[in-house]
Symmetry: C2
């Protein structure tokens, strides 16, 4: 087996970025491609924010605030304070340094540069070897049907802190979206040795990627095996609203239920050893998959790669 072959990761925000960071310490970064959820993207005061792409950019360039899980280390807040003094919206915190990504992205989108080209340019500027691909350059918006009505992702996640009861999730614009350049190619590439599904929220981070026509089909017909890393650890989500959302959607909170939700396009799942009592129906391997330290991230990435090595398609 040639370990120089490529790894593709489907990923959302914080959890996925941890896995990709772990992988980047095990493989040459040039061999890693991250396909990133953009369903959370939105405009704040006109500025285009891509939370999951930004989290990856910060994590992989060593700029992320690890304690907080999002944004930049050592961020300052003079902008937000001035916005507040002018009566502007302050429910979504835009840090002073963070603003550079959004302002420059806004300027570039306005002159019709694509999100994928912009993202590649930012990654190059920060010397990030990993290829970061938005799932699409088109507008896809994760919308939640809740007991408070239809909410856009950030309204649910940030403004309402995931409090509303969710009964359905839709991806507005998905039907007419096209995968960004290189997405299908990376999945189908004969040089790809494994496709990993990061332990991101299946419903809010991975499903939006799958909602883009062509991506699920590519995963089904890929040469490389597809392996999911369970977002459920010890019967609960490590972070974020996955378990609450699963209960609201009447899905058992278990790795098995996540594997069943993903369906026939995954070949295996890496499951936390604390969840041995509820193994998924697909091939699986148990390991400690909680990622707290950098060593944890590397260990989980290694376990993911080792399981993938044993898989065949």
């Amino acid at each position: 087996m040639n370990d120089m072959r490529k790894i593709v990761v489907l990923t959302g925000g914080v959890g996925g970025a941890k896995l990709v960071l772990g992988l980047s310490r095990l493989c040459p970064t040039a061999n890693i491609t991250a396909i990133v959820n953009t369903g959370d993207d939105f405009r704040q005061m006109g500025l285009p924010v891509s939370p999951d792409i930004d989290t990856l950019l910060y994590t992989l360039s060593g700029k992320s605030n690890r304690a907080q899980g999002w944004g930049r280390e050592g961020e300052s807040w003079a902008f937000m304070s001035a916005v507040k003094s002018l009566g502007g919206p302050d429910w979504f915190a835009l840090g002073d340094g963070d603003l550079a990504l959004h302002v420059m992205r806004g300027e570039a989108l306005a002159r019709h540069e694509t999100l994928s080209a912009i993202t590649a340019r930012f990654a190059r500027a920060w010397d990030i070897g990993v290829e970061i691909l938005p799932m699409t350059d088109d507008a896809v918006a994760t919308m939640l049907e809740t007991d408070e009505g239809t909410l856009a992702f950030q309204d649910y996640f940030v403004a309402r802190r995931c409090a509303p009861h969710v009964h359905a999730v839709n991806f507005e614009g998905a039907a007419s979206a096209r995968p960004a350049p290189r997405v299908i190619e990376a999945i189908m590439d004969a040089d790809t040795r494994a496709i990993l599904v990061a332990p991101s929220n299946p419903f809010l981070s991975i499903d939006p990627i799958l909602s883009v026509p062509g991506i699920r089909e590519a995963l089904r017909s890929a040469i490389a095996p597809v392996e999911a890393i369970s977002p459920i650890v010890a019967g609960a989500s490590v972070k974020g609203p996955t378990d609450k959302l699963m209960r609201e959607l009447r899905i058992p909170v278990s790795p098995a239920a996540v594997a069943a939700h993903y369906g026939d396009w995954i070949d295996a799942m890496l499951v936390d050893e604390r969840d041995r009592h509820q193994p998924p129906g697909c091939p699986h391997h148990f390991a400690d998959i909680l990622m707290t330290s950098l060593d944890d991230r590397i260990r989980v990435a290694r376990a993911g790669l080792e399981l993938a090595k044993r898989l065949k398609r």
Copy 2:
């Protein structure tokens, strides 16, 4: 004479803001209207910057950096540093706090709020009693014909630090621009007791205001006397490129030449006592008009008001 009547000031950036600040300590702020140059307005990374309006907002709300003459006191620069790291343009410094004005203005312009409505909203939020009116809500751009070709104002002023030799100044878009709401009304108001022309650059700050059709005519037929405060002190400009520009345009660097340039719509000029040897042809009064301290600003504003009191139309 009823001192509660209104004062109108035509103004550019720093020098004009000093005068308006001085006036605001002598008159109720609700009685002061500033008509502000917007010929320097431009977009940086897509964000609309209105330098002269912003200088007034900062000066009148006590937020201005007095040593520097522009921007906010105690400004931080995390945004610029991140922009630079991403390969973005760094020739025009946008401070972290300063960005709030530009981002919120950009968002509001995109939903078709006018510059004058936005400016009024910002002034209210910061409790600024003075009425701040952009000269127009339409796009007028000060363009300089130089030995390096045609340059937009900020390219000349900031990027090239006024180095190019200027042979003409044009106001792009002026022919079809309309005065912003309240501009003509404020000038023509029977309650206006004086119209002051701030000691701003006549060619780059005051001429753009006059380039908007209807404003010069209103000044000519106003009931209130119009009085210019000389931007030339002791044979030179206090700050900025006024004197260099006048030499390049082959105009003598003197208060008299500025008064002649303004022409028949000014009734008088307040001239610095160091320029007694070159009095303007119009009625004038000599005083120390150099504004360094806040006391100076108040003293010059008072001298301006006293001269205006003696004028009749």
